[in-house]
Every structure is written in structure tokens, then in C-alpha cells.
């Protein structure tokens, strides 16, 4: 598309959209064209929603989740004060846990994992806040829902070492639902065999 003053704003929108995950210049151009064609139905509501989220979205001061207030809905809800605290690496992990709908307690988002190579230490993560929360909120169990990676498990052990006065558990590792042994890597099979249980 030739760029002149009349199309500069549209080009700018395409450029911005093309930076989003999963989109490239071609798909961004198609998306923008689609939005312009559906101006009333999609473009204007999207612009309004983006503006609202842009001005109100912030990190929950308590757990690190993203919401539109100082404290997110999960932290504000008395029903979620079960004494269980689930520690996750990122907000995306918190949302994944919430989608499953099985955990009824509260969360704590670390904001990453310890990484020697990237110089990420405990102070760069929300580990000091976690230790404060465990003491302040009468937590009875901390569930470490961190990735089954070297960095994730290093972080899990680091946290477990610092939480001596509370029950600390972690998610199980092994065969995924719908998984077939033939397609699993040897690491997953080893973890699954170590975590076997009686039937």
C-alpha cells in the first residue's frame, strides 16, 4: 500500500499490530482491513476496550495478578481464603490454573524464575513478598506450580528452603492426560516412574 498522509494512521496501526505475538506484517494488514470493514461491530468496541484496559489495568499489589484495581478479585474474595497459596511463574500460568477451575485458594505470581545466566536472583522475583504473605495470611499450604524445567525446579527448591514453617507441595510430573508412552521423552518417563503410585 502506498503511504501518504491519508493512510499514515492506518500504516501506523498495521505496524503496531504486526508487533503482537502471532502476527506478522501480512496478517496485521489483513486484521486491520477486517476491522475497518467492521467498524461499528468490531473496530470501535475494540478501540474502546483497549483504551479502558490501557488506563485501568495494573498488577495486584498482593499477588501480582493483573486486574483493574489495586487488589484483584481473587485476593479480594473471602471465599478464596482457604489457607492454600498457589505459587506460579507468570500471570499466564495463573490464568491457566483458573481455566482448570480446580483450585479454590489464592495465588502468588513470582514474575519469572531464578536464572543464573540471566542474572535473575530472588530479589528480582516476588519471593520476599511471598515469604511475608505466608506469615501474614495464615497460609497452611504453599503449592509450587512451577515449570518442570531446571530453572523452575531450582526456584521451587529455593522457595521450599525458605518456607520451613509451612507445608510446601509441588505439582506432580509425569504422563499428560491423553499422552501415550511411545511419544514421551525419556525425561518425562523417568519423572513419571519416580512419581508412580499404588492402585
Amino acid at each position: 500500500m502506498a503511504t501518504d498522509d491519508s493512510t499514515a494512521d492506518i500504516e501506523r496501526l498495521i505496524e503496531l499490530m504486526a508487533r503482537l505475538p502471532g502476527l506478522g506484517p501480512r496478517s496485521a494488514r489483513r486484521a486491520v482491513l477486517h476491522l475497518i470493514k467492521k467498524r461499528q461491530l468490531q473496530l470501535l468496541p475494540l478501540a474502546e476496550a483497549l483504551h479502558r484496559v490501557g488506563t485501568t489495568a495494573r498488577e495486584c499489589l498482593n499477588c501480582g495478578n493483573i486486574g483493574t484495581g489495586d487488589v484483584c478479585g481473587i485476593c479480594a474474595s473471602e471465599k478464596r481464603a482457604t489457607g492454600e497459596l498457589c505459587v506460579v511463574e507468570d500471570v499466564a500460568d495463573l490464568w491457566a490454573m483458573e481455566r482448570a477451575g480446580v483450585f479454590k485458594g489464592r495465588y502468588h505470581v513470582l514474575g519469572g524464575t531464578l536464572s543464573a545466566l540471566d542474572a535473575v536472583g530472588p530479589e528480582e522475583l516476588r519471593i520476599p513478598q511471598l515469604i511475608d504473605r505466608v506469615a501474614a495470611e495464615s497460609i497452611t499450604e504453599v503449592i509450587l506450580a512451577l515449570g518442570a524445567t531446571i530453572d523452575g525446579q531450582t526456584t521451587a527448591h529455593y522457595i521450599a528452603d525458605r518456607l520451613q514453617d509451612v507445608k510446601v507441595t509441588s505439582l506432580a510430573q509425569g504422563v499428560p492426560v491423553g499422552g501415550e508412552l511411545d511419544y514421551l521423552d525419556d525425561g518425562t518417563i523417568t519423572a513419571a516412574l519416580k512419581a508412580r503410585r499404588s492402585l
Binding site: P21, G22, L114, A116, L117, D118, A119, G121, A148, T149, I150, Q153, T154, H157, Y158, D161, Q173, D185, D186, G187, T188, I189, T190, A191, K194
Partner: protein
């Protein structure tokens, strides 16, 4: 197109873009090499792109100075082996961080590679691993050109009662040779000489000495980098072993 094939252990991986990963691996014939793995975050490859994993690597680039692309074939994963073991995890992190921080890129160190593979194979053996790790750090210093000379006293020439190391020369010093300088010298625990009890406390003390030389010699030469924090966690862990 330049292309070679080698076997190596993965030292680090970080995501690049949406689907790729930039990895660093220690190979026998090509040393520490970095390259892109296309599709490295896929479900198929991600479990193998973990520090410590043994990989069959094919590296390709148009010019030698390019970052290059890796094609990886998993040979052996060590992730499940170390995940539940605090000492093994801290050890693996420290080993990978030290190799990444101290080894020059694309400079082969076959002897250090062989020692590193032997050490990785011992991961999980709590009785043997701390002492093997100490010996590996001594070998690393040697390989980097900062090897310690523990054969005889730098002052008297004798080899009795060697209990100090000179921080300046890296040579052993005996109790009699140290004289008034004793408080300025580093400790030389017997475990560094292959004698005495290899307790956690003794090995941690010896790692304090090797740590000094890694930090003040090897890392200083590379722009005053600090020791990786994962190494300190390992030293603390070893010190707490009975």
C-alpha cells in the same frame, strides 16, 4: 555454507522470537558454541532443550562469524534425574553458569569436556559429587591458564604442612613459610591435596579458595564479572552436608 557435527552438553537456552531458542552448548571439538534452534520451544523439542542435556548437534552458517543454526538430536536428558535433588540442581546450575561465564567461545577444550561429562554423569550421587565438583573447578582453572600449583611451598620449597595458598601466585605455602603473612593467605584444606576427610565443610572451604581464583583471575580478565549466584548456592548447600 559451513557445517559441522559434534556432540555436546547444553549450557543455556533462551527464547528468541516466538518459536526459536538461542542455545549455548559445550562441545568436544568446537568448545562453547552458540546458535539458534528453530522451533526450539515446540512440545517436541522443549523437553530436550534443558541445561545438562546431551545432544547430537549439527551447526550451520553461511560465514564462520555468524551466530549459526543448530539442528539438535536428543541423546540423553538429565532433567528428570536432577529435578528432585537439591544438590544436583544447584550443582548443574553452577557448572553451566561457570562454563558459560569463563570459557571463551569456539575454543576447544577436549580435556575439560571429558571431565565435565564425567561430572555430569555423577549428578545425583551425593557422596561422590561434591569432591568431584571441587576437582572439576581445579581443572577448570588449569584449563583457563590460572591453575594452582600445590606441589610444594612457594617460600621454602618443601612439601610438608602445606596449609595456605598465595592469592597472588596461586602456589601453596607451608605453615613455616607463611610467617607473618599467614592472615593474608587463602586456606588450603587437605581435601585439595587429595588427603583428609572430604566433609561438606572442608569441600566448601576449598571451594571458597577456588572461587577466589575464578573471580579474581578468570572472571576479572573477562571484564570483572561477578561469580554466578548459583555457585554460591551450591557452596552453601555443600557446607550444610554432614
Amino acid at each position: 555454507m559451513i557445517e559441522w557435527r559434534d556432540e555436546g552438553a547444553l549450557l543455556s537456552a533462551r527464547t528468541h522470537g516466538e518459536t526459536s531458542v538461542i542455545i549455548e552448548a559445550l562441545t568436544r571439538s568446537h568448545g562453547r558454541v552458540a546458535g539458534i534452534v528453530r522451533g526450539g520451544i515446540s512440545r517436541k523439542l522443549a523437553p530436550h532443550i534443558q541445561p545438562g542435556a546431551q545432544l547430537d548437534l549439527t551447526w550451520k552458517a553461511r560465514l564462520d562469524e555468524h551466530l549459526g543454526t543448530f539442528t539438535v538430536e536428543p541423546k540423553r536428558s538429565r532433567t528428570a534425574q536432577v529435578m528432585g535433588d537439591r544438590l544436583a540442581l544447584d550443582g548443574l546450575n553452577s557448572l553451566c553458569a561457570l562454563l558459560s561465564a569463563t570459557l571463551p567461545e569456539r575454543e576447544p577444550h577436549p580435556a575439560l569436556y571429558d571431565r565435565t561429562m564425567a561430572l555430569l554423569d555423577l549428578l545425583g550421587d551425593t557422596d561422590l559429587w561434591p569432591l568431584a565438583y571441587l576437582q572439576w573447578e581445579l581443572a577448570l582453572l588449569d584449563e583457563l591458564g590460572f591453575g594452582l600449583d600445590l606441589r610444594s611451598c612457594a617460600v621454602t620449597g618443601g612439601n610438608d604442612a602445606l596449609i595456605y595458598i598465595s592469592p597472588r601466585s596461586g602456589r601453596a605455602v607451608s605453615a613455616s613459610g607463611a610467617g607473618d603473612w599467614a592472615d593474608r593467605l587463602l586456606p588450603l584444606p587437605p581435601v585439595m591435596l587429595g588427603s583428609g576427610d572430604a566433609t561438606g565443610a572442608e569441600i566448601a572451604k576449598a571451594l571458597g579458595t577456588t572461587g577466589y581464583f575464578i573471580e579474581h583471575r578468570a572472571l576479572k580478565a573477562l571484564g570483572d564479572r561477578p561469580l554466578p549466584s548459583s555457585r554460591q548456592r551450591l557452596v552453601d548447600r555443600i557446607a550444610s552436608l554432614s
